[in-house]
């Protein structure tokens, strides 16, 4: 038996490295001089956090970024799932649109930013388009794959029962494709969240966590940047946990994986 078999001990060991990191950071900050700009002391970061919470900036930013990400996700993923399913069901559509989408997919989403900025200006609409684009592709690819991989014999059984097209869709294709649809949605959500931060950071319109980060960078306020990063990470983590829970409860009818 080693010390590491005890949960509290294991947890304490895990705290050592972050604590050392913080101590080193604080030491750098206290050395003053040019270090003071690069390393904001912990009390400064704490002060910035309090300031941003009290004047409501942090809450407003987080809400704005979340809203942007989820709006983009709603539009992008809905279109993606609809198109993915349609392309899997009608090969003609697949052949018409597949090549086009495949070519567009090669460009990194960030690469579209300057072009979209030029076409639609650097405002709310452009940011939303980038987020929609990021959410669109994972949803479409997985929806397409999910429906395309439905086992033939399920469909044959449906045929024997004389299912109509809508019955076939609702009672066979949709449930069978559900795991892949959810995988796509999960990926879309992660992409939409990152795209929201990136778009805000690079376009900097109105309010949002990325906007505040970008402004803090030009004002050399590392303390504010660190606070927004921490909030970004916390929200990202919370979203992941939430999605994981929803996914397992939605797929509870399936045999547990492995």
């Amino acid at each position: 038996m080693s010390l590491l078999d005890h949960k509290p001990a294991r947890f304490a060991v895990g705290l050592v490295a972050p604590a050392l990191l913080l101590a080193w950071w604080q030491w750098q900050a206290s050395r003053g001089g040019s270090n003071a700009v690069a390393f904001a002391s912990l009390s400064t970061v704490g002060g910035a956090a309090r300031e941003l919470i009290v004047n409501g900036t942090l809450l407003a930013d987080a809400a704005a970024t979340l809203q942007r990400a989820f709006t983009g996700l709603g539009i992008g993923a809905t279109l993606g799932i609809a198109l993915g399913i349609a392309m899997a069901m009608w090969p003609l559509l697949d052949r018409l649109l597949g090549p086009l989408l495949n070519a567009l997919r090669q460009v990194p989403m960030i690469g579209w930013l300057p072009l979209i900025g030029l076409w639609f200006g650097s405002d709310e609409g452009s940011e939303l388009i980038v987020i929609c684009l990021s959410a669109f592709f994972p949803a479409m690819l997985n929806a397409h794959a999910g429906v395309a991989q439905v086992e033939r014999r399920y469909l044959e059984v449906g045929q024997i029962y004389g299912f109509s097209a809508s019955q076939r869709f609702r009672r066979i294709l949709l449930p069978a494709a559900m795991p892949m649809l959810l995988t796509g949605l999960t990926q879309s959500l992660a992409f939409a969240w990152i795209a929201a931060i990136a778009a805000e950071l690079l376009m900097g319109a109105s309010v949002g966590l990325g906007v505040t980060m970008q402004q803090a960078q030009t004002q050399q306020r590392l303390d504010i940047i660190l606070v927004t990063i921490a909030v970004t990470a916390a929200i990202g983590f919370a979203i992941n946990q939430l999605v994981y829970r929803i996914r397992s409860s939605l797929l509870a009818w399936q045999a547990p994986a492995q």
Partner: protein, 267 residues
Amino acid sequence: MATAPASFLPSGSRRPGFKLGPLPQALVPPLALFAVWQLACLTGLFPEQVLVPPSTVARTLARLAASGELERDVGVSLRRLLVGFGAGALTGLAFGAATALSRWTEAALWPLFLLLWQVPVIAFLPVLVLFFGIDETFKITIVALATFFPVALATFDGIKSVPRAWFEVAQVYRTRLPDLLWRILVPATVPAILTGLRVAITRAWVVLVAGELLAADSGIGQLMETGRQLFQIDVVLAGVITSGVIGFLLDRCARALEARATRWKDA
């Protein structure tokens, strides 16, 4: 039934298109896109200020290539990618291996890793700009960061999924550490690590372009950003296409390497 040349099958469901001759097939989608685009411009649906036809973009690309501007920007970007990727991959491998092989390092370092992993790499851009200014260090560091996380994770998972029994067999045979590393651990973990490296290089490319858009004096991202500020749609589009082609080629090369290195698995 013959499959459509550019059918939209998920990449995982089929082995990377090697036997079919990857190039001609890969060329179909972009060519179709260019055809649609050129037609859209010929109909006069879009004014010149909004969308220039691919023929104009091709001319711009040729001009940029002839003046050496394109070569310089692409060269600068690729050099940053290579240096940053190398540094990030090596540290990621070392970190992943160190945390997976010893319970103590795992308990001590993995929680911190998971904590930092929650932050989208792009969110580190402003911090790094403050730390390093907008010099090369900043761009190489962001690439290294974007590489480090997926590689460390893949290495960790790869080593962790080696069956315990293999280690026990090695113990019975009193295998020495170098042999354990080279004859058991490396072959068993190579597939997972290669996948990690492939994911890492495509992400690193995206993050580098973002970094160059945000702050740079050269590189493909900066070319696009300048084009945007001067309202040169053809230059922006040339940059979009170039970054797309490079991203595509990086992914393809990595997939080819992966398929080659893991061929023994199918045998």
